[in-house]
Amino acid sequence: MMDAGDEILSKETIVQLQNISKKFGGVYALNGVDFDLSNEIHSIVGHNGAGKSTLVKILMGALTPDEGKIILKGNEVQFSSPRNAQSNGIAMVWQELAGFPNISVTENLMMQRFIRKSSGLIDWKSNYEQTYEYLKRLDLDIDPKLPMGKLPLAQQQLVEFAKALSYNPSVLILDEPTSALSFSEQSVLYDKVRVIRDQGVAVVYISHKLEEVMMLSDRITVLRDGHKIFTTDAGNLTKADLIEGIIGQKPSTDRSISLSTGIVERPPVLEVQSLNKNRLLHNVSFNLGQGEVLGITGLSGSGTTEIGKVLFGLDQHYTGQIKLNGEFVSFTNPQEAIASGIGYVSNNRKEDGLIPNLTVGDNIVITSLKDMASAGVIRKHLIDERIHPIMDQIELRPRNPQLLISSLSGGNQQKVIIGRWMRDGTNILILDEPTRGVDVGAIDKIYDTIRHLAASGLSVIVLSSEFEEVFPKVDRMLVMNRGHLVGELDPSKTHWENAFEMASHYEN
């Protein structure tokens, strides 16, 4: 393994980050990290929370480091804002597309710098020509007059690349650019990334997909827990080395342990049979046992969220069978799923969960107002009888049902949303990323609640990309990889690293 210090730079260094540290609330997100960049494709890899996004944010001016220097083409600089970094030649293409789908490619590219006629009116002809020229730099044959939203996702992504390039940056940061793309689209994108490098731009590439990183990169930097583990030429690296760098120990080469053996057989309450969904789920089959906590893990985009949506009636575009207590079901909306005993906490609390204008108490009883009312009139004593035990169970702080839910911390909000499903009639609870946006202290409490619910006979599915966090909390763990169910693990017998390895394994 190569050390950070003894790389031989074949090309001129464009940016150098020296001894960068950044703390959040006393915890190091980055600790003394050195990073340099020349005209190359340089990937940054690491597990969730390793410090990738902090490093990138510092590079693009969204965060200022507590310690350390940024040296751009030989001069020390301080970026006060992303705009400031941009004007110094640092560009970024975001994971979530930042384009405007309703207006043309040209308008997307030329926004804020339209070519105008002497009269001050926009000169559309020149703008179209200029846009065409920008697109040509990436060999893109796209009609500049088309609305952005009419293009396939992959092309929209490439237009974003062209836009970033049109500002002639010296550094281009790409954040998970292939996460939404099909395989053939990905290889087009790889070609374009190489084209960008060959035009003299230093490319920072961030991806979860290890094979992609190894195939595309010139150099790779591995971060773990805020430390740089190593930077090395991609050619010198084996996948085992890379995984060892990311998770801190050697991946198990013994595949046999990944097959579950000693898991207690429970009567199944839910049987999912060959679930397929265009490009997102491929032949997914599994059972959920009575009182079981089943973890389904995968990297983001692996299909875990889609499973939850199908089971809760949010998505009807699938094939395959779902059996609930031995009977086939297919739900066309959440109401039907709830009536059949399913509860669901989405991974987007703000959009799908919180009702911000209501109190904590109202947010809890919202799923069971039917039971709280006789002849349509709400009975206050029934509400009190319902919410007080739930608030005790979830250990809500402060324990006040009259507070507006929007005034609580993320962790407490999440507890309330989970508490919403603690009602007679819920037999299966599906939680998608239950600890997302939750303060560290509340994470354990949430898992305690889940275990407690399971002990009382509820069956729970936890969908998550936090392998390490979920692993010890579940009875059984399924692993998803790009829409396929690739493994079943018994957490008492194996390590979470095996799940991570299975989830990031990539073959064409």
Partner: protein, 326 residues
């Protein structure tokens, strides 16, 4: 520092009852300007009588706005339902009580149509109810052919002109319907679900609330209220004509907004909306007593809406700041 927060709290409490505060100020100001003429019993009853029809429309409007919608069709509904009843009574000779049933059925049907189009077909409430306004008004115009229909049976005058315990029946209707709506919003399953839908429709749907059914019900209630308003107006003027309800949708919306009902949904209530309607009426009445030009009165009405909404925005900001300081 402490003083400042007390001041802020006082300001927030003051503005939480914003509509009531504006009402008190308006009444007091006109009492001075009109030398007490506006607070004579007969004038107060006069104001309440004027308020009753718009106030009742504002009740239904409030429900729809809480669900992030809007109902522009109320004026048309009021007009068409009156025309239907009047044709029944005058041209066909049906008894008045049968015609009231027809009226209400007409209103509920239109509300149901609005609800279906908006809930199931996902039409924009603004567009859907605007088209409904034009459609219903147009049908009423066509039936009436520009004429006014007199000769309503004398029992018809009961709703707009009779009194009970010193108050006109139409004021009692406002009080009773307002109270029922208050109870519905505060203590019924439908009411609680409506606030949840206004706060976050997606989350409400995912919590298993029958969003479509509730939405249809809200538009039916709004149309029902418009029908009752039409009944009151026609009873006061004892004829059917196409000017009934004309422009009243904007008065109903203004009442709700002045009364603290948020157009963003999920906030406000019927009591506020009725107070909002009373504020508009008190100001109109006061300006009339002072013989201010009716053209200027319209300007003042506009300014009152501006004032009320700015008040509401400041109130929200204070609340957010209070929350942030906690």
């Amino acid at each position: 520092m402490k003083q400042q927060s007390i001041l802020k709290k006082a300001l927030t409490n003051f503005s939480r009852n914003g509509a009531l505060v504006i009402l008190v100020i308006a009444v007091a100001a006109f009492a001075v300007l009109t030398k007490g003429k506006n607070i004579s019993i007969s004038n107060i009853i006069n104001i309440l009588t004027q308020v009753s029809s718009v106030g009742i429309m504002a009740i239904g409007m409030t429900m729809v706005i809480i669900d992030r919608g809007i109902d522009l069709s109320v004026g048309g509904v009021a007009c068409l339902s009156v025309v239907v009843a009047a044709v029944g009574m005058v041209k066909i000779g049906l008894p008045w009580y049968v015609c009231i049933v027809f009226m209400i059925i007409t209103g509920l049907l239109i509300g149901f149509l609005n609800g279906i189009l908006i809930a199931k077909l996902k039409m924009q409430p603004f567009i859907c109810t605007m088209a409904m306004l034009k459609t219903t008004q147009g049908i009423a115009y066509y039936i009436m052919q520009g004429k006014t229909l007199f000769g309503l049976p004398e029992q018809w005058a009961f709703f707009g002109q009779s009194k009970f315990l010193g108050l006109p029946i139409c004021v009692w209707l406002l009080i009773v319907l307002g109270f029922i709506a208050f109870l519905i919003l505060k203590f019924s399953r439908f009411g609680r679900e409506l606030y949840a839908m206004g706060g976050n429709p997606q989350a409400a749907w995912m919590a298993g609330i029958n969003v479509n059914l509730n939405r249809i019900a809200a538009y039916m209630i709004s149309s029902f209220c418009a029908t009752v308003a039409g009944l009151i107006i026609s009873s006061r003027i004892m004829c059917a004509q196409t000017s009934i309800g004309d422009g009243s949708e904007l008065d109903a919306i203004a009442s709700a907004v002045i009364g603290g009902v948020s157009m963003a949904g999920g906030e406000g209530g019927v009591i506020g909306a009725i107070i909002g309607a009373i504020i508009i009426s008190v100001i109109n009445n006061g300006l009339n007593l002072m013989a201010v030009s009716p053209y200027l009165q319209t300007v003042i009405k506009g300014l009152v809406i501006f004032f009320a909404v700015i008040f509401d925005i400041i109130r929200r900001r204070n609340m957010e700041q209070l929350k942030a300081n906690q």
